[in-house]
């Protein structure tokens, strides 16, 4: 009786969120798609017009494009490996009985709250600077030549910074999952004489599998669009050595004003993200069914 009214009211309550997100998703994406088939240069509008797929061809034939895809993948995969393996080890360590566990947790989680430009600049200047950085001090202490991180190993440097930002996230989530493990089960396994390793492989790891999946999926979403860390450290260089796909699109759009090519790159980024999203949605969706 009242349900009809309730239902329409519910629809009415949902409308603002749904409409806002619909507009936010459809309008810019449609514009990007449209621009990706256009020649459009705000600085030189003479040749503007429909150009078919040539933006995609141009973007694809640009040697920076393949490099940027490669860099994007290297960044995502390296950081995932470091943070997931490091996160599991750290979570296991912090889960042990110890003095000052609360403070250890706070110290470990802290980097996650540091805004990306600060994280990148602190690492660039205070830690990795070839002259004044802490790494250079350590190298000199051992009589070694300090490494020019951003000149010679730009991707490694960025991977270290981004991994530092995300390791806390992985650790916190895996630790939360670990702590929800049934203590009785653990004790029973211990009583049965299961060693640390067999307990880890047969009990702990399966218990954490969903948390690990979630960590991988959520980090992938964010890692695919790393931007500020590159902007303030290497600016994509030297050359294109540390340019990822988002950074390349930004360069094409706002520095070179090649809007068509940038849009083509943007659409490629969307496709890449969608492949990831497909798996992410399935994993999160399963949780809703329980």
């Amino acid at each position: 009786m009242a349900t009809q009214q309730t239902r329409s009211l519910a629809r009415f309550m949902m409308a603002p969120s749904v409409l806002l997100l619909l507009v936010w998703m459809v309008v810019p994406l449609a514009l990007t798609l449209w621009f990706s088939f256009q020649q459009y240069n705000p600085l030189n509008p003479v040749r503007d017009g429909f150009v078919g797929l040539s933006n995609y061809a141009l973007f694809y034939s640009n040697p920076a494009f393949l490099q940027s895809i490669l860099n994007t993948l290297i960044l995502v995969i390296s950081v995932l490996l470091i943070t997931v393996i490091g996160g599991i080890l750290l979570a296991l360590l912090i889960d042990q009985p110890m003095w000052g566990q609360g403070i250890v947790r706070i110290l470990v989680i802290s980097p996650f709250f540091v805004m990306p430009p600060v994280a990148a600049l602190v690492w660039k200047n205070m830690i990795m600077h070839p002259q004044y950085g802490v790494f250079a001090d350590i190298a000199r202490f051992f009589g070694a030549q300090p490494i020019d991180w951003f000149g010679q190993h730009p991707m490694t440097a960025i991977i270290i910074i981004v991994a530092w930002q995300w390791l806390p996230f992985a650790t916190l989530i895996l630790l939360t999952a670990l702590q929800s493990l049934d203590g009785e089960q653990k004790e029973a396994a211990e009583m049965d004489g299961a060693g640390f390793f067999s307990r880890f492989i047969y009990l702990t790891l399966p218990h954490m599998s969903r948390a690990i999946t979630v960590v991988i999926l959520i980090q992938t979403i964010f890692l695919l669009s790393v931007y500020a860390e590159i902007l303030v450290t290497t600016n994509g260089g030297p050359g294109y050595a540390s340019t990822n796909l988002p950074f390349l699109v930004y360069q094409k759009a706002l520095l070179e004003f090649k809007i068509g090519q940038a849009s083509a790159g943007g659409i490629i980024a969307v496709i890449l993200a969608n492949i990831v999203a497909f798996f992410a949605m399935r994993a999160v969706g399963k949780n809703l069914d329980k």
Binding site: T6, R7, A10, M14, P16, S17, L20, L21, W24, M25, V27, L29, L31, L90, I94, Q96, V104, R105, L107, V108, S110, F112, F113, V114, M115, P116, P117, V118, L121, V122, N125, M126, Q131, V134, W164, F169, L172, I173, T176, A177, R210, I218, I221, S225, L231, V232, T233, V249, Y250, G266, V270, A273, N274, V276, A277, A280, M281, V284, N287, L288
Partner: protein
Amino acid sequence: MARSVTTQHKTIATVAAWIVALLIFFPILYTIITSFKSEQEAIQGFNLIPSGTFESYAEVQAQSGYFKFFLNSVLLSVGSTILALLVAIPAAWSMAFSPTKRTKDILMWMLSTKMMPAVAVLFPIYLIFRNLGLLDSRIGLMVMLMLINLPIVVWMLYTYFREIPGEILEAARMDGASLWNEIVYVLTPMAVPGIASTMLLNIILAWNEAFWTIRLTTTDAAPLTAFISSFSSPQGLFWAKLSAASTLAIAPILIMGWFSQKQLVRGLTFGAVK
């Protein structure tokens, strides 16, 4: 039997965990220490004991008007969070208490918007903002940040609201309460903790958002993310100043973050890990 090794085990675990934790925290710690050094001290090699000068803090404010950027960060993160809550609370509410067959699809679809790479829509958004005169405006950026975080806000609220027992709702309905009265008088008080947690996490996320806040602002609306990024092209020696600016930029959110660890897990995993 296993308990006999406890003290030794505990000591080893404590030492190992503290060493790792301090190493991870070190860049932040060193930044805070350096912020109390003079520029001369800051580049004289590794040194954990600063002279304790506040001159870098004074200079950051004097040279760049630090406080304006700080204020923008506060306005943008709090403002966008309040906007998001206003839009999301009714939606999450109706999804949690009057779910339909499509509720799950709508939730998943909302989440999917979060997966669109920002850079893919950079130019259209830039164009729209320019044509509406919203570039470098606080209102424009506030709406932007609201849209970015709206899916997370709806999701988080939804997972909290779902835990409120439905019987209370039934009872109120029996007593003849309208849906509006139900929301205002019966359920809102029970939902306050969940709303507060959502708010906290969303402020942190908005404070640290470093793509749109950098690209869509120049001076007037620029928050701390944009201000700090301007330090990337060095003019002379500025280690201590950079440290002071960085410390000020991360301190409030670091402290908020420490209090929101649990909510962080829940919010960022969309309720999949609690």
